[in-house]
Structures are given as C-alpha cells and as structure tokens.
Symmetry: C2
Subunit: 107 residues, 2 copies
DNA sequence: TTGATGTATAGCTGGTGAGCTATGAATTGG
DNA sequence: CCAATTCATAGCTCACCAGCTATACATCAA
C-alpha cells in the first residue's frame, strides 16, 4: 500500500539523512566515525539517522568489534521507482486514450 | 544539486499530500471541491497541500470562474527517478569493478 | 444588488522530529 | 585491570508543519 512508500519518502525527505545514504551509495561501506567526519552534525545524530535508514530498510549494518559498518541497501529504492513509474503510466494511458479518440474521429 | 530533490522528497513525504497527487495522476484534472470530498481533511488543508504541490512543480492550476482545476505535472517526477537510478548505478559499477578484479585475479 | 458557492488566507495549536550534550555500554590496547 | 576509543541511548529544546476554525475574496445565480 501507500504505507510502504510512506516510510521511504519520509526517511529520504531529510537532507542530512539523504546525504548519508548518498555517501554510502557512492563510496560503499563506511563506519559511523567515517560518516560523522563529514556529515556536519554530531555523532549521535549520525547514529540516529542510520537507525532510521535501517528501519526503512535502506541500509544494512555490520558490527565488527567496537565499530559498526553501514552499507546501502539499493534494492530498497525499488518501491520508490515503481511508484513513480506507476504515476507516469497514467499519463501515458491518457495519451493512449487520446490517440484512440483521434483514431475514432478519423474514421 | 540536492536542493532540487529536497523539495520533491519533502513535498511527497506527507501521506495526505501524496494521496492528493496520486488522485490527480490516476483520475486527471480535479477541482478543489472534488478533491476535498474524499481527502479526509478540511478544504483549507487541501488548498494548502495543493499550494505546496504547486510550489514543488508537481501540479498545475487552471482557474475557471470561482473554481480552480488542478492537474498533475508528471515531468516533475523525473528528478526523483533520475536520483534513484544514479544511486543504483553505483551498485552496478561496484559489480563491474568486482568483475574486473576477478578477471584480473584469473590471469 | 443580494445571497450563495468555491477557493484562498490568516491565525492558532498540538505533535513530531532534528539537533544538541551527557552518559552508558562494549571493545581494544597497554 | 585501566584507560581510551567507538557507537548507541537518554533526555532535552526548538523549529517546523499539518490540522483546525474563522474569515476574506471572488464569482455566479436570481
């Protein structure tokens, strides 16, 4: 349902959180400390954002000793793309309908 | 930059607002009154959401007499899809790199 | 002109969440 | 065993925003 999209949209809506996710996509697995270094916010905030991303299924954590490695879960973006494609599909259907109409008017 | 995505994500993050946008996509142009009828919120709230959607470029308004018709602006979803595709592209690049590595190790 | 209708705006309130500091918990090094 | 490091959690504050009602504004009908 729409509830599934809800968490993804809401999670990616925050710029700081989206930036963290983007870094994980571009640069691969990173520790909390490495992410904090250039996040522009404090370490607890980064941890909180990572927890939110994990709840949404957008990242995966790999604890190793006293540090935790996070990596992007690309597949989690699929519902978002599917949703967007579904929305635009209604647009195409309208064109199809218009095309149909014009074809009928032609006859 | 990311600021462009920012407004789109933030605008679509709200369930009520996204539902309104979805209805405009599925059912085409609608007046404020028609949208309010099944929105589950008051008319001023619907108007406010429509204003937000318009600011984000997601809808277009067509005033006609005392009522205003709104319709979806499908093209506005493009940046969202592009962003998602860009993110997943990093995933594919990693596979390419891995493939490269394995190929080299084979030699 | 007057009243009714459709939409937008103003102003308020409550809830949510992003940021902070302080601290707890777990692990590593000496 | 002790100190340092790394991360997560707790508790707080502040700003923002979705929702409401009331009302202004514009348009149509009679």
């Amino acid at each position: 349902m729409t509830a599934a999209h809800d968490e993804i949209f809401r999670t990616l809506a925050d710029p700081t959180r989206r930036a963290i996710f983007e870094r994980l996509c571009r640069e691969g697995e990173k520790t909390v400390g490495a992410l904090t270094a250039r996040a522009g916010v404090s370490q607890p905030v980064v941890s909180k954002h990572l927890a939110a991303l994990k709840r949404a299924g957008l990242v995966r954590d790999r604890p190793e000793g006293r540090q935790t490695h996070y990596s992007a879960e690309f597949a989690a973006l699929a519902p978002l793309v599917d949703w967007a494609n579904e929305m635009t599909s209604f647009w195409e259907k309208k064109f199809d309908a218009l095309e149909d109409l014009l074809k009928r008017m032609d006859q």
